[in-house]
């Protein structure tokens, strides 16, 4: 009896989805198609996810309605289906015995842990990471392991009791009831249970009459009065279309275009600040002491003629210095040890709740420096790339250490967030938002970077005033550039921090057309030892203005439609900057 709601047709995801994060065979799916656009405003506050609750009798067609909504929303990066099945109460031994005899009533509202359900849904709706319980229909029991779920812009909750609990109803943006004729539901149920679960008709009817029918009449059907829309359980094409149109319109009004807003806001702020003469005096920002060595290092790293070997070596060295500086911000506990001479030494002990998280790819050089300093530190990663069309950051993957994923420990963890540079701060804000969503305290986040644009400090600190930023340099300029790219060779997004630095693309001669080829040529020049100087000299003399002219030319050509293979992407460039750090370090 207990398995009667475990619809197997939940198990098949939409085939067009590129990837999805979930254990296969589960009813709760987070689906990710192409990365998650910002789910928060420029103030850093989360925008609530859109929640649809779908209720209806068993075998009424809830799932097909849910799936229809899902496939209509395939442009939404992350859609989550949350099933009521996960939230059955933990059972006592007697209840388990009943369950094995098919005598346990799982169709009663009390069988569901609705307060836990509501708590998890509330977390998800607010954009936080949560851990949902798992319920096993084999053991008829809640299992000890929990499932980590994070990051959905749309949540579809389905279950026969989905509209039952007032706590849950408060969380829905749209309440749907799938209404189906009882005879039809019973017919579907008998067919399904006989064909797919090998049950006999007597057993099915017995169960139906004892629990399912009364539950439907007493609880499920009456809950339809809370629904905004009642959808028929069969021949419902038109109803679903209307439903989907409504959901789409709701979502469109929430979509965000804010990277540009960030840069502009930062500008205004910077002007105000400098007019007051209190430029980045903010004590949240720790600028490394500008010693001769540091300036010398920065000179090497900024120089476009620096060889790759030198760049890697000095980038590693600089990241070590930045990490050491960041660690001085972390408090230590007093600790007394005995020295080999037998004398007590009153010292301090380290903090072992420290983890690193690097924003890929450009945070990579930093994790090397961090490992040099603390060999055994757990380091997680977040892949944040920028959308080539809008320049907005997209979260493609987050792979966080356990201590962050678990809500029990995340409040204690101190995080060193690593990225090689911060241009608009958009990628940084996304990464910080992810950490906060997991319950990391804002004051426990330290952002480490080589280089930061002045504007970014203001945007990031306005949204997250308690984080610390440790940087080796602060640059004054941040310019928007339109960078042409070859559509045929485009791999989704440069890394978002680094979209800011895709300038190497414009090093090449735009009239030749093959940008990718140009890039390779540039690489050759960099690596070719003796030719580098001569070849490089002319190329490097090209003033930035002329490059911009060429860009305009290329854009004009694109508008004329001469070359359909080219698009353009927007990027923010720090100046004087140090170029595309990820490329210079890895390529």
């Amino acid at each position: 009896m207990a398995r009667h709601q475990h619809d197997p047709d939940h198990l098949h995801p939409r085939p067009q989805l590129q990837s999805w994060i979930s254990a296969p065979g589960s009813k709760n799916e987070v689906m990710v198609s192409h990365g998650r656009a910002p789910w928060y405003g420029p103030d850093g506050k989360n925008i609530e996810a859109y929640v649809v609750g779908i209720a209806g009798g068993s075998a009424s067609g809830k799932t097909s309605v849910a799936r229809a909504i899902l496939s209509a929303l395939n442009y939404i990066p992350t859609v989550l289906i949350l099933s009521q099945d996960s939230f059955y109460n933990a059972h006592t031994d007697e209840e388990i015995e009943l369950a094995f005899n098919n005598d346990l009533d799982l169709d009663h509202p009390d069988a569901i842990d609705s307060s836990l359900f509501a708590k998890c849904l509330m977390d998800l709706k607010q954009g936080k990471a949560t851990e949902i319980p798992t319920y096993s229909f084999v053991h008829h029991q809640r299992m000890p392991e929990k499932k980590y779920i994070y990051g959905a812009s749309v949540i579809i909750v389905e279950g026969i009791m989905a509209l039952q609990s007032p706590e849950l109803r408060d969380l829905y943006d749209l309440k749907v009831f799938v209404n189906c004729d009882s005879d039809l539901m019973l017919a579907r149920r008998i067919k399904r249970d006989v064909q797919e679960r090998g049950r006999d008709v007597d057993g099915i009817l017995d169960q139906y009459l004892r629990f399912v029918k009364s539950s439907y009449d007493n609880f499920v059907q009456p809950s339809s009065r809370y629904a905004d829309i009642i959808v028929p359980g069969s021949s419902n094409q038109l109803a679903i279309e209307l439903l989907v149109t409504h959901v789409k319109r709701q979502l469109d009004t929430r979509s965000l275009r804010f990277r540009k807003m960030l840069a502009q806001m930062g500008d205004d702020e910077a002007e105000v600040q400098s007019s007051k003469g209190e430029e980045h005096s903010d004590k949240q920002v720790v600028l490394l002491e500008q010693t001769n060595q540091l300036l010398g290092l920065m000179t090497i790293l900024r120089d476009r003629t620096t060889s790759r070997g030198d760049f890697i070596f000095y980038a590693d060295r600089l990241s070590t210095i930045v990490v050491e500086k960041a660690l001085t911000l972390i408090p230590c506990q007093p600790k007394t040890v005995k020295t080999p001479l037998g004398v007590d030494y009153k010292g301090t002990g380290g903090d072992d709740q420290l983890v690193g998280v690097s924003i890929l790819r450009s945070g990579g050089p930093f994790s090397h420096g961090l490992r040099r300093v603390i060999r055994d530190i757990p380091i997680g990663g977040m892949l944040i790339q920028s959308d080539p069309k809008t320049g907005e950051p997209l979260l493609l993957k987050s792979d966080l250490p356990h201590s962050i994923k678990s809500t029990e420990t995340s409040g204690e963890v101190k995080v060193l967030l690593l990225d090689s540079q911060m241009g608009t701060g958009a990628a940084a804000m996304m990464a910080i938002r992810v950490l906060l969503d997991h319950g990391v305290l804002e004051s426990n986040i330290i952002f480490l970077t080589y280089l930061i644009a002045k504007q970014a400090i203001h945007s990031v600190l306005r949204a997250f005033p308690s984080i610390h930023i440790v940087t080796a340099a602060i640059d004054p300029g941040l310019d928007e550039m339109h960078i042409p790219y070859n559509r045929s060779t485009l791999v989704l997004g440069e890394s978002a921090g680094e979209a800011d630095f895709a300038v190497r693309l414009i090093d090449g001669d735009l009239t030749t057309g093959g940008l990718e080829g140009e890039r390779e040529k540039v690489d050759d020049q960099r690596e070719g030892v003796q030719s580098e100087k001569e070849l490089g000299a002319d190329r490097f003399k090209v003033p930035i203005k002329r490059e911009m002219e060429e860009l305009k030319f290329s854009r004009a050509r694109e508008r004329r439609g001469d070359d359909g293979a080219f698009g353009e992407k927007r990027a923010w460039v720090i100046s004087p900057g140090m170029g595309h750090i990820g490329d210079r370090y890895y390529m």
């Binding site: 408090p331 030494y345 002990g349």
Partner: protein, 225 residues
């Protein structure tokens, strides 16, 4: 942001490293950050086997800050000019065997292919007088800045001897940077007054010496560990 004039000032005085109160002007002590204290706690602990790379790297970075630089303009990949500085003067390392050798890896972390010379000086167990056993130094050492590596500065006997050896090889006194992990006030005084132009950089100043001329609380025999 770019001030290419070399700075030779002392680091900010600390409230917590009480023993560094009155030091000669050419003795510099690292800022007593919490991390530094934790690191020292680790290496002082008699149970610790771990290397002291991190402190050594901090010392080397601080030492390198005392080398001269000249202004240099570069073009960044964005096409903008950046007024930076470029390192001036060649350097080499000289480690006092055997403990000083433990600092070589830290030096190489910061200066990739730096030449490293070696000096073996041992303390005569009867007279406490240092004795030179062996010295192998780069040929052109007289034209270089020398980072002299010795983690423990107790009485300063062996260090004084090593500096004499360097000066005999034509190294200018003001081009010697002595990098040191833990020092006794006596040792600092001995070295810095005898060679006032040399610069001594240490991570921590301890209380003093015991009757065997060991640093207290110290960390034992660095080379052995």
């Amino acid at each position: 942001m770019s001030s290419p004039t070399p700075t030779t000032t002392c680091l900010p005085a600390s409230g917590t490293n009480v023993n560094k109160a009155h030091l000669p002007e050419n003795a510099l002590v690292l800022a007593p950050t919490r991390q530094l204290q934790s690191l020292l706690t680790i290496i002082r602990d008699e149970k610790t086997q771990r290397t002291s790379d991190r402190i050594i790297r901090l010392l080397v970075e601080e030492g390198l800050n005392h080398l001269p630089v000249v202004p240099k303009k570069v073009i960044t990949p964005v096409g903008q000019e950046y007024e930076g500085v470029s390192f001036q003067g060649r350097i080499c390392g000289v480690s006092i065997m055997r403990a000083g050798e433990a600092m070589e890896a830290g030096l190489r972390d910061c200066c990739r292919s730096v030449r490293i010379g070696k000096i073996l000086i041992q303390r005569d167990e009867e007279t406490f007088q240092p004795k030179l056993f062996y010295a192998k130094l780069p040929d052109d050492i007289s034209q270089r800045f020398v980072l002299l590596l010795d983690p423990m500065l107790a009485t300063g006997g062996s260090c004084l001897k090593a500096i004499e050896v360097l000066i005999d090889h034509g190294v200018q006194e003001e081009k010697i940077l002595f990098l040191n992990l833990i020092a006794s006030p006596e040792g600092i005084k001995n070295v810095c007054t005898r060679f006032p132009k040399l610069r001594l950089i240490t991570a921590w100043v301890d209380e003093g010496l015991d009757s065997n001329s060991y640093i207290v609380p110290g960390l034992g025999d660095f080379g052995d560990r």
